[in-house]
């Protein structure tokens, strides 16, 4: 039987060969309609740089460990010369035509049922996974078990952080022939307490560990507001 864990301690293991399903907490800050704003650091050896990023959650299906939304990169700099290697998810040198780029992304929630900490695709080996996950301080209590089985036997239902992978699927406001690339994906850690999001972009062909930092966006309000829809 899964055992609940006390906050800030390592989650218990699920006993037995066939672990029961445990969903991550249904966190209102990670529900549809929620907006987040922040930056993605795309610094290189040549210069320090960060782009403004807005994210909006559009869909959430906890039973299937699924999340999706849009990511908007604002004020994408107009590069005067082609820069190599490629930074982040965007080929900088052709971006002078757009001031902002919107992508649709889909997320896998690490819930030990639908998805584990091991990516198993997108050119990410388990070593790459561990290297990225360990960048998040809240991951450290989970490390030893994840090394054993990818975290399949962990009960994450009461854990105050939600780990995810976000993969951009396509461009929303530009065509496929725009010359941009979204080949990589983000390792994401979401804090259920304050809705802050930290992420690291991974693409073997991009500069490593580009950091995404987002905070819950109050959109000019003195508090939190929640919208909702329900598909039939």
């Amino acid at each position: 039987m899964p055992v609940r864990v006390v906050e800030n301690s390592a989650p218990s293991q699920v006993s037995g060969a066939n672990p029961g399903h445990t969903s991550p907490p249904a966190c209102t800050l990670l529900s549809v309609g929620q907006a987040f704003s922040g930056t993605q650091n795309v610094s290189s050896l040549q210069k320090d740089e960060a782009w403004r990023v807005n994210v909006r959650i559009q869909g959430c299906d906890l039973d299937h460990g699924y999340l999706c939304g849009t990511m908007e990169a604002l004020n994408v700099p107009m590069a005067d010369t082609p820069v190599a290697p490629i930074y982040s998810c965007y080929l900088v040198f052709i971006l002078d035509a757009w001031a902002w780029v919107v992508t649709f992304w889909e997320g896998e929630i690490v819930d030990a049922k639908n998805h584990t900490f091991f990516t198993g695709k997108w050119e990410a080996t388990s070593e790459v996974d561990i290297r990225h996950w360990t960048k998040f301080p809240s991951f450290s209590p989970l490390l030893s078990q994840v090394e054993v089985d990818g975290g399949r036997s962990l009960d994450l239902s009461s854990y105050p952080h939600i780990f995810m992978r976000w993969k951009e699927q396509y461009f929303v406001n530009v065509g496929t022939d725009c010359g941009l690339t979204i080949a990589g994906f983000y390792y994401v850690c979401f804090s259920c307490s304050d809705g802050s999001i930290n992420g690291f972009y991974y693409d073997p062909n991009s500069s490593p560990f580009q950091k995404l930092e987002l905070k819950s966006n109050h959109e000019g309000r003195s508090g939190f507001s929640f919208s909702s829809y329900e598909l039939q």
Partner: protein, 702 residues
């Protein structure tokens, strides 16, 4: 001239006059009956024409006047008149109605006990035809004599008589009580034994068994009881029968067993086989092929494991291939669309496959099909395909070609006035309740039932698809608004049918999700504060819930949009406050609390207005509703209540300090302190945030 005399002898009017003529001898009548029968067999137009000319009462009159006699010539007359009556009733509801109106039913029943076997046979065949129609009178199994008669039919050696018994069961057995009664009377045993009989008996037995099993696990367990193996194997064996109809009926029987008792037929191999048989039967060009799609739909509906299995067996491709083959009969298209709707109801893989096969345009075409059943099935299919954020954003978002092509016919269906789907009246003029409405909605009034001819079933189906598509994630929702969709939805939100009201408000709620100010204003102007208030106070809790969720979206986004609930002296806000204070359903309270929480995320005036709704200064000493909601067993309600408190005490607001003091006096702080270890993480975290904010103003006691 001989030529003209011969031609006049064949005129329908002459034929009818020969039937009715008192002077005509038995021989003449017999000849006329044969002639009539031969003319109408398989000819719908002729049947309708003779019905119009009044032929049926003449035939029934021969039947009634001859029933008591038992000589040879009378027997022939009875056989021919019964056959003619059966022929009128075969596959034509108007024929069944004419036969029943002419009083044929009791005379046909009396033929079952006639000494002449041929007469018995003809009577049984004719009654079977009548029992294939929904218009046939309901047989009361709970009447002891009726049950005895039914058993005698099933035990008869004549296969048409046993078939009649089975048809009566298939037609009239509807409730669990009736199913149990039949089972207790030994009917199951007899039906099982008929599985080994003639083709006709096997088919009739399979159909009746499915009727007796439908939705009744108790009866299914009796069937699968001590001799379970044999009976179940007999049915399973018949899925391999050489006759397609028998295979189909055996499949349907197994599906009914599986649907009533999910613990049976768990074997993946067996389920796959069943699916493959149905797919093969889909190739049958006739009725079997039509019904196979419906059976497939019933097999996979609401069962994700079976939908996954179907996906792996390429069922989506096969169904789409059939659809693309066209042109198909309406029934076939309807069945395939319903099966596709079930397949795409849960799995993204099925939706992507359907979209990649480019059949969405065929589904869209079906939205404007002549048959209302097909239109409704197309709506269901569209609803399932669009039950996905990914599909909406990728394929159906505003500005995309598909959005326009789909939205316009869907909106047109909202005022579809087709009357071809259902007949709302029984012959005895009792009001028949449409599937989407409760008896209370119908109010039993004839006038109201007539109103239902504006097809509520189709409207609900269209609203389901619209609800999904209008989410569309763009701020403008332009196509839907431009084609008059909002006007239609608002009109339907005032419908007397609760199912329509619910679905219309649901669609408006989804339309309001993340809308920009212009779009919100357009919807609100059409809806008005008073209609919205009525919907919040609707008698149906499900409508209240959707209406509150709509307001929740209305006041989300730009902070100015909060002002909507303050219009007309706060009409909407007061209605919300009343619901939060008095609603019984947790779902309604959750939405109500989120509206108040969203309003409390605004400015000082907004926050104070929410305080007033939650803690009215009416001198009452009862426990504040906020405390009750924080103690509610529903974690979503506790979360919503905690969020409202977080917003009411949000730091850097001038009035926060006085609100904290009020909340402390009301006992909220101590309640929050009791919740720091709430079993729900979300609640626990919000309580922690709220308490943190309370503490910035001291402990509230000063």
């Amino acid at each position: 001239m001989p030529a003209s005399s011969a031609s006049s002898a064949h005129r329908p009017e002459d034929l009818i006059s020969r039937l009715s003529s008192a002077a005509a001898e038995d021989g003449g009548k017999l000849k006329a009956l044969r002639e009539l029968k031969n003319q109408i067999i398989g000819n719908r137009t002729k049947k309708l024409s003779y019905i119009k000319l009044g032929a049926v009462p003449s035939v029934v009159s021969i039947l009634s006047s001859t029933a008591a006699e038992d000589d040879a010539s009378s027997a022939s007359l009875l056989v021919q008149s019964a056959a003619a009556v059966g022929s009128f009733a075969c596959g034509l509801d108007a024929g069944v109605k004419a036969v029943l109106d002419a009083g044929a039913f009791p005379h046909l029943l009396s033929l079952i006990s006639h000494p002449n076997n041929k007469v018995v046979d003809a009577g049984a065949r004719s009654l079977k035809m009548i029992y294939q129609s929904k218009l046939a009178p309901k047989y009361d199994f709970l009447e002891e004599k009726n049950m005895e008669f039914l058993i005698s039919l099933l035990n008869n050696e004549n296969e048409n008589v046993t078939g009649l018994g089975a048809s009566i069961i298939s037609h009239s057995c509807e409730t669990n009580v009736e199913q149990k009664e039949l089972s207790d009377a030994g009917v199951l045993k007899r039906l099982i034994s008929l599985l080994g009989g003639s083709l006709c008996e096997r088919d009739a037995s399979l159909e009746s068994l499915a009727t007796v099993f439908k939705g009744n696990p108790e009866v299914v367990s009796m069937f699968l009881g001590p001799e379970s193996g044999r009976a179940l194997s007999a049915v399973t064996e018949l899925t391999k029968d050489r006759y397609p109809r028998t295979r189909l009926l055996a499949c349907m029987c197994l599906i009914t067993i599986r649907n009533a008792s999910p613990c049976y037929l768990q074997d993946v191999e067996q389920k796959t086989k069943l699916m493959l048989i149905l797919l093969e039967l889909l190739d049958d060009p006739g009725q079997v092929g039509d019904e196979a799609a419906f059976a497939l739909s019933s097999l996979i509906a609401e069962k994700e494991d079976l939908q996954q299995l179907a996906f792996e067996e390429n069922v989506v491709n096969k169904l789409c291939n059939h659809l693309q083959k066209g042109p198909l009969q309406a029934k076939r298209i309807q069945g395939i669309l319903l099966a596709l709707a079930d397949l795409c109801s849960k799995l993204e893989s099925c939706r992507s496959r359907l979209l990649s096969l480019q059949v969405l345009n065929l589904v869209t075409d079906a939205l404007t099909h002549d048959s209302a059943d097909v239109r409704a099935a197309a709506c269901s299919c569209m609803k399932s395909v669009s039950r996905s954020v990914k599909v909406i954003i990728q394929n159906l978002s505003a500005g995309s070609f598909m959005n326009e092509v789909i939205v316009i016919p869907l909106v047109q269906l909202l005022h579809d006035t087709s009357s071809s789907v259902q007949i709302w009246f029984y012959l005895d003029s009792n009001v028949c309740i449409p599937p989407c409405c409760s008896k209370r909605d119908i109010g039993y009034s004839m006038q109201h039932a007539l109103h239902c001819f504006i097809d509520p079933f189709l409207q609900v189906a269209a609203l389901g698809a619209i609800s999904n598509i209008v989410v569309e994630f763009s701020k403008h929702k332009s196509v839907f608004i431009q084609c008059g969709g909002v006007k239609q939805l608002v009109q339907l939100s005032k419908s007397m049918e609760s199912a329509i009201r619910l679905n219309a408000v649901w669609a408006l709620r989804n339309l309001m999700f993340l809308s920009d100010n212009r779009c919100k204003e357009g919807i609100f102007l059409e809806l008005t504060a008073s209609t919205l208030t009525s919907l919040i106070c609707d008698p149906e809790p499900s409508v209240q819930e959707q209406a509150l969720a709509l307001v929740r979206n209305l006041v989300d986004g730009c902070v100015d949009s909060i002002e909507y609930v303050f219009l007309e002296d706060g009409l909407i806000l007061h209605a919300i406050g009343r619901q939060v204070q008095s609603a019984l359903k947790a779902e309604v309270l959750v939405q109500g609390m989120y509206v108040l929480s969203n309003v409390a995320s605004g400015n000082e005036i907004h926050k104070e207005a929410v305080m007033h709704q939650l803690f009215p200064q009416d001198g009452s000493t009862t426990e504040p509703i906020m405390i009750k909601h924080l103690q509610n067993k529903n974690s979503q309600l506790r979360t919503a209540a905690a969020w409202a408190l977080v917003n009411l005490t949000f730091p850097s607001n001038p009035g926060a300090s006085s609100r904290v003091a009020k909340l402390w006096n009301a006992g909220v702080t101590s309640q929050l302190k009791n919740m720091v270890n709430d079993p729900c993480l979300d609640v626990k975290l919000r309580v922690k945030t709220a308490l943190g904010q309370f503490m910035t103003f001291g402990d509230g006691s000063t």
